[in-house]
């Protein structure tokens, strides 16, 4: 293991930034997964495919409808929310009373179908999506160059994550959501339409995934497999963070992104497995996750 002196500051900061960017995606996606699991008790294996769909909607919008990046950032999550509501009504709602396994299998199957459809139509080599003009170039911070688009991704995801946290922890709607998550029957007995909330929660989770997808489009190639590459790591992040707290999911995602980035600098051989090593350790010493509650 090299000491910090061996690494040029430029390279270290660059990797740290990349780590934060990856961490931002981990945070957004694990947040969506945690919220969905909390309300629906379903492990949403389709989350990666939904993220991919968000990116593809941005690319399709640009290619066929002349929709720019900023419009896609608004419209793609809305489309994904509608798609999510459709899936919940047509397929997921029949699974709530069953074992977790059925939800996992159904969403896994859904992921395969979606990825298959997109692969069939577009092939696996990615589609290019250029960074919007306003965000090209970099800030010169003296000790490093910070690409504007990367800074934007970090800021945008932090804003979205913080807004989600605020909505869930500090608003009346969030209180209804937390109550429905904790005790759905009693919450219904107070007159709150819990099935509607469940449906909207799944839609919201899909919208978050779609938003992450649009953010990712200019950064990596838009490919049908971009979701499946990411989803496994995101699941590990969720296991590490635990499902207990919104803030926990966000911090864990960011933290693991940074750890992964730093590992790439100091010990690149371990960079693709470090998250899983941490997951194994956490499972041994604290199975509910860092911020999790026993469920």
């Amino acid at each position: 293991m090299n000491e910090i002196f061996g690494i040029p500051i430029q390279a270290l900061m660059g990797q740290l930034m990349l780590g934060l960017v990856n961490g931002a995606f981990y945070a957004m996606l694990s947040l969506g997964l945690a919220v969905i699991f909390g309300m629906l008790n379903i492990i949403n294996f389709a989350h990666g495919a939904l993220y991919m769909m968000g990116a593809f909607l941005a690319w399709l919008g640009l290619t066929y409808l002349d929709l720019g990046y900023w419009q896609s950032l608004l419209l793609a999550p809305l489309c994904m929310a509608c798609f999510g509501v459709l899936i919940e009504r047509c397929m997921l709602q029949w699974l709530y009373k069953l074992d977790h396994l059925y939800g996992l299998l159904l969403t896994f199957g859904l992921a395969l179908v979606l990825e298959g459809l997109f692969t069939n139509q577009f092939g696996v080599s990615g589609q290019p999506y250029s960074i919007p003009d306003e965000l090209t170039g970099a800030f010169n911070l003296g000790f490093m160059l910070l690409p504007k688009y990367r800074a934007w991704v970090i800021v945008a995801s932090l804003v979205v994550c913080f807004a989600t946290w605020f909505m869930i922890e500090k608003t009346r709607l969030g209180a209804n959501l937390r109550a429905a998550t904790e005790n759905p029957q009693l919450t219904q007995a107070f007159g709150i339409n819990v099935p509607l909330m469940v449906m909207l929660t799944y839609g919201f989770g899909c919208a978050l995934a779609g938003f992450a997808g649009v953010l990712a489009a200019p950064a990596i190639q838009v490919s049908p497999l971009m979701g499946s590459n990411l989803i496994i790591v995101v699941f590990a992040v969720v296991v590490i963070g635990g499902m207990g707290s919104i803030l926990g999911s966000i911090l864990t995602g960011l933290g693991l992104g940074v750890i992964e980035g730093l590992t790439k600098v100091f010990y690149p051989e371990a960079s693709s497995t470090v998250v899983f090593i941490i997951m194994a350790i956490i499972l041994m010493i604290r199975p509910a996750g860092l911020f999790g509650k026993e469920k």
Binding site: N176, T187, A189, V194
Partner: protein, 242 residues
């Protein structure tokens, strides 16, 4: 002042006819017939496992399959989903109190949406239950047993519910708190609420209830008016051992 009731509304606020209820395959209620009139306080007495709690849950649609008729304020509710039944103005205080750990005391209080007019304001609630004002920012389950029971009752009073389904509210509480609860119920009666009180504690229920039903094996075994307690001692002895 019976400000909660209009002149032309039906006398029976809650009317149950031939109610059968199931938990999965298990047939728990075998034809319940009971009625609670507007502004009355009716108590469901009986041994553990008789079906009293199940009756309350069945009114709200929280059991499995239900057959028969349950009319709330003139509306048939046997096929309605739970949240729609609650929105007719039914307030529920479950046996386990159901205080949410993921909400603060005040959030618990504010959770139930308005299901009727005439709900008490937050200020009135805090005047009636000063403990809850003190503990308003504490996490719900950090409150003592008595405070949690007050909270469970207070939140349905805020929602404007007119029919209150109260399940074992005196259970496991210190005598001074049970006394306070009795006072609160009397005040609610005076304000015109319609109350169905499931109780194990005969001494708590008897002075409050206008009528009592004794539930045994998922059916109504006897009905006793408040004035008949003396004359029907043998029935009470047989079913409740009091």
């Amino acid at each position: 002042m019976n400000s909660l009731h209009s002149i032309n509304a039906p006398l029976e606020y809650l009317q149950i006819r031939g109610l059968h209820a199931f938990y999965g395959e298990s047939h728990v209620l075998h034809g319940i017939d009971l009625q609670v009139n507007r502004g009355e306080c009716v108590s469901l007495l009986g041994r553990n496992g008789a079906g009293r709690t199940t009756t309350l849950r069945a009114i709200l649609g929280l059991t499995g399959k239900r057959t028969g008729s349950i009319m709330v304020n003139g509306r048939e509710t046997i096929t309605m989903p739970t949240h729609r039944i609650a929105q007719l103005g039914v307030g529920y205080c479950p046996e386990e109190r159901g205080i949410y750990a993921s909400l603060s005391c005040e959030e618990n209080l504010l959770l139930p949406p308005q299901v009727g007019s005439g709900g008490m304001s937050l200020a009135e609630i805090y005047a009636m239950f000063p403990n809850l004002a003190e503990r308003r920012d504490s996490q719900g389950t950090r409150l003592s047993g008595g405070e949690q029971q007050m909270l469970a009752l207070a939140r349905i009073l805020r929602s404007g519910a007119h029919l209150l389904l109260l399940d074992e509210i005196s259970e496991g509480l210190a005598p001074v708190i049970v006394q306070k609860l009795g006072t609160v119920i009397s005040q609610l009666k005076a304000r015109g609420f319609t109350i169905l009180l499931v109780e194990q504690n005969f001494r708590f229920a008897a002075p409050l209830a206008d009528r009592m039903y004794i539930v045994e094996n998922g059916q109504i075994a006897a009905e006793i008016a408040q004035g008949e307690i003396e004359t029907k001692q043998d029935l009470l002895q047989e079913y409740l051992g009091v």
